[in-house]
């Protein structure tokens, strides 16, 4: 396989990893597959594009967009998910709720901005350099670096900070965490915030890479990122990164060698094969069923 394809795959894979983190973090704590995450990602990209059009500078617009997306995710949690948790609702109920939220969000975006693809400005100089026979765009370097830094920050937050400790405690046993005085609802909201922020950053990066943003962009990317999260072992941060990169590489290789029709489904083929061999993903912990 060409180094070029691997490099392209890693770059796009890192952005999948950023979206996958959102699925993984929320799943870790709530045991919930959050299907609204793809549209949150699309919201991040679209709202940033909208803010950029006000011309108060690209950087402030992006930061505002990311913060807004984070807040939106908290709102989703507070308005829709928290009442369900209080009721002790079944997981299928929460799943349908997230599908409903995804519908609301995507269609509100379409109502407000239209469903057409709109041009997204490039964030990095439009240049290419050649390293050992591999064409590397500056955008790709930027994407790779930003995603890597973000991943490191996320891992540090989860593993080294107090709130990260609370997150891990809630993940292991929510009831016990509550009894230890951890404000679990706050922890969950914080998790949603982290997920929203990383999804928005991924949205901005991917939009600037492809040069466009549109309300429906979250559909395919969301599914693939979910596949990446499950592939790596849902609930595990390093798993999300490995899963994302694997999905990215396989997609880029499939598009080159098999044809672009395979781009969207090769991730699922690999996923199914991996799950049959390792039912809990590559880095997933096996859950022991207690009777």
């Amino acid at each position: 396989m060409g180094i070029q394809q691997i490099f392209n795959g890693v770059t796009i894979g890192m952005s999948y990893a950023l979206i996958a983190v959102g699925y993984s973090l929320v799943f870790g704590i709530l045991r919930l597959v959050n299907f609204s995450h793809g549209s949150v990602y699309a919201f991040g990209a679209t709202i940033t594009l909208y803010l950029i059009s006000f011309n108060f500078g690209i950087m402030p617009a992006i930061i505002a967009g990311i913060i807004l997306t984070g807040l939106l995710n908290i709102l989703i949690d507070k308005a829709a998910m928290e009442p369900l948790r209080k009721q002790g609702a079944a997981s299928i109920t929460s799943l349908i709720t997230t599908i409903g939220i995804s519908n609301i969000l995507t269609n509100l975006l379409i109502v407000r901005f239209g469903s057409q693809r709109r041009q997204f400005p490039s964030l990095f100089p439009d240049k290419t350099m050649n390293l050992l026979g591999v064409d590397i765009q500056y955008t790709q370097i930027g994407m790779l670096l930003i995603s890597l830094v973000l991943m490191v920050i996320l891992v540090l937050v989860v593993n080294k900070t107090k709130i990260g400790l609370a997150m891990r405690a809630s993940e292991q046993n929510m009831k016990a965490a509550k009894l230890m005085g951890i404000n679990v609802n706050f922890v969950v909201s914080f998790t949603f915030l982290l997920g929203g922020i990383s999804a928005a950053i991924a949205g901005v990066l991917v939009s600037s890479y492809y040069g466009m943003a549109y309300p429906n962009m979250g559909y395919v990317s969301g599914l693939k990122a979910f596949a990446a999260a499950v592939l790596g072992g849902i609930g595990s941060l390093p798993g999300s990164i490995i899963g994302g990169v694997l999905v990215g590489i396989s997609e880029s290789a499939a598009a080159t060698y098999l044809g672009s029709e395979f781009r969207d489904s090769v991730a699922f083929i690999i996923l199914i094969v991996v799950l049959i061999i390792r039912p809990n993903g590559l880095l997933g912990k096996k859950e022991i069923e207690k009777v």
Binding site: G100, N103, I104, N107, A227
Partner: protein, 340 residues
């Protein structure tokens, strides 16, 4: 004892009223195409029936056995494409083609059911989701057979005894209605049967049902196969009504729509599928004037329903906790008398 009898007679009265009501509704549904000549309404009622069948199929998986599938659209696609290809290319009779489509769908259902031996929860869900997407890719790349992204046009209408069934003479509608009633009857019988009880036991407590000696693998795979067959049946019928199919007819949205109907109506029930499908199909049609906002409304309905009525519109606890068949009751009485 007397009170008991009175309660019993009231109950039979109620049951009589219920069966009369159901009979009236069924006859009414059969008469719709002959009374109402407005094609628009007929199409909507027809679409409701179509989605009821799909929901009944998924209901076996979600409502009875407790497995969540997000790939049912894949089976609908298999049914639609197999039937269409056989009828257009090989000039096969629609009903024979449908029968073959059901067998193929059953094989795929078996294939998809096998991972359930090892996978649970979100892992299983994503495999079914992936299955739906892979089917769509196969449709695109297998262009020599499926005509790829261009789709298949001019799908012939089925004919029975020399009469072509169309939407205008109500034939297609009656075909859908009859299929729905048959599937409904099947699900009703399945629910009460030994198989249905085993499935519901698996849903309630997987570990306990293994301990009770239920072959969980068999019943899980069986429910995948049954759901696949029912959804493929819908695909066959639906394709002749649409007249045109391509890979975008069977998207993830269709799968989530079916799942939403099952949950919104009240999983595990048959009446719930009817109401859920009626609400979710008619709602976007009624609110056409809202333009793009109607899908926002659709999402809001889902979210609010799950918040305030998570068991679904018509889902309530089964009134008979141990719905044994008469024969099983007799055996138990017999054993009870013998002191076993």
């Amino acid at each position: 004892m007397r009170k008991d009898n009175i309660a019993k007679s009231k109950l039979t009265q109620l049951n009589n009223v219920k069966s009369i009501l159901i009979g009236v509704i069924i006859i009414g549904l059969f008469l719709v195409p002959f009374v109402n000549t407005n094609n628009y309404y007929l199409n909507i009622i027809n679409k409701v029936l179509i989605y009821i069948i799909m929901a009944l199929g998924l209901n076996i998986l979600v409502g009875y056995t407790g497995l969540v599938s997000l790939g049912q659209a894949g089976f609908v696609a298999i049914g639609a494409y197999t039937t269409t290809i056989l009828t257009t290319r090989l000039d096969m009779n629609f009903f024979i083609a449908t029968f073959i489509a059901l067998i193929i769908a059953a094989a795929f259902g078996l294939l998809l059911g096998l991972p359930t031996l090892r996978l649970i929860g979100p892992y299983l869900t994503i495999v079914t989701l992936g299955f739906g997407e892979i089917i769509r890719t196969i449709i695109i790349i297998w262009a020599p057979v499926t005509n790829g992204p261009l789709g298949i046009r001019n799908i012939p209408r089925p004919s029975l005894f020399g009469i072509e069934l169309t939407m205008n003479n109500g034939g297609l509608y009656i075909l859908t209605l009859v299929s729905m009633l048959l599937v409904m009857l099947f699900c009703h019988q399945l629910y009460k049967s030994k198989t249905g009880r085993a499935m519901r036991a698996i849903k309630q407590d997987h570990t306990a049902s293994i301990m009770m000696g239920i072959n969980t693998t068999y019943y899980k795979v069986l429910s995948f196969v049954l759901a696949a067959i029912i959804c493929a049946l819908v695909g066959s019928i639906y394709s002749t009504q649409l007249g045109y199919i391509d890979q975008n007819t069977f998207t993830f949205d269709m799968s989530t729509m079916i799942l939403s109907i099952v949950i919104l109506g009240g999983m595990g029930t048959i009446r719930g599928m009817v109401l859920g499908s009626a609400v979710l199909v008619v709602l976007p049609e009624l609110s056409r004037s809202l333009m793009d906002y109607r899908f926002v409304l659709y999402g809001l309905v889902l979210v609010l329903m799950m918040r305030f009525r998570p068991q679904g519109l018509l889902g309530w606890r089964d009134s008979s906790p141990y719905p044994l068949s008469e024969k099983a009751k007799e055996t138990m009485d017999f054993q009870g008398k013998r002191g076993v």
